[in-house]
Symmetry: C2
Subunit: 206 residues, 2 copies
Amino acid sequence: MTFSKIFENSVEEIAKLPGIGKRTALRLALHVNKMKDADVQALVNAFSDLKSKVRHCRYCYNISDDDVCEVCGNPKRDRKVLCVVQDVRDVIAIEATQQFSGLYHVLGGIISPIDGIGPEQIRLSELFQRIDNEEIEEVILALPATVEGDTTNFFIYKNISGKVPKVTTIARGVGIGEELEYIDEVTLGRSLLARTDFNQIYQKRK
Amino acid sequence: MTFSKIFENSVEEIAKLPGIGKRTALRLALHVNKMKDADVQALVNAFSDLKSKVRHCRYCYNISDDDVCEVCGNPKRDRKVLCVVQDVRDVIAIEATQQFSGLYHVLGGIISPIDGIGPEQIRLSELFQRIDNEEIEEVILALPATVEGDTTNFFIYKNISGKVPKVTTIARGVGIGEELEYIDEVTLGRSLLARTDFNQIYQKRK
């Protein structure tokens, strides 16, 4: 169909990437075919470096150029607060808020029986080890507000409850800028149950 | 921002691809970082093969695994009809219609002064050489219906008019399934001027 087996094979490989359909893969393949040699080499190196050179922090499993990541290696971070997240994207998102000064623990996934991901497939034993060995005062569970996220939250809670003074989860509620009429009932219900004292918000703003 | 210079560099390289934004590049990079070694190798090979192994047909510049592409090498194709297209994607699109049995000439672009693409940047001299050396009875101009396409059409026409018995362009008109009220005036106007004898369509259908 495209007159070149090699070309077709490349398109198929590119189309395996998440969110890249056959049409986009074809467009990308034709673009790469027209790129300069040096640019293709840079792109190829970029992909291969992601696997061969990018490392994971030995403590929190965040991506890193070294053995220990920038967060864990920063003496200004509060080592007694641990924020548990699904993956590196969440670390980036939370860092962007500038509202968190503790350390992270990147699970690398969440429990999802339908996808064949059980507690052993993600870095839960590493989390429990950290909690056993480090002096942690609060574990913040910042996992997705989905069934899988809730399952993982509960699993972690069951295993660490009693070993850490405080286990919290990020607030579920109405997003900033959202209209109440468009919010689903569960979220709205929860945001009523977990209502915040206005004094508290007001004092934070001051 | 992402705790790894190598990672950031890879994201930037990926984001240079057309239609891939910074966010998508980040998502792809994290995915590749999690892929199996062998899969990353296959992806890297796919990209590098596109440049190093995929060839272009010596006659029409279509992509090919050999010196001559499947179309040009097919003895059943009508060698007297030449269809001029912008790039390989157009060859694929036209082949999918199964309405064309001639040969192609892939320009590799169209004249676009705003992008710095003049007649020398695309394979026009190669086209004119083919027309001088081969016995061609009809040149079909199948370029985009844009200002750049029209400019290129006119440039080609000026150079080959008199050397080829027939120069045609694909019909511009109302697309199948389109409602007249939504068509722009120029297209609708042209489709009236270039109206087709109904007998002709009826006889083709029989």
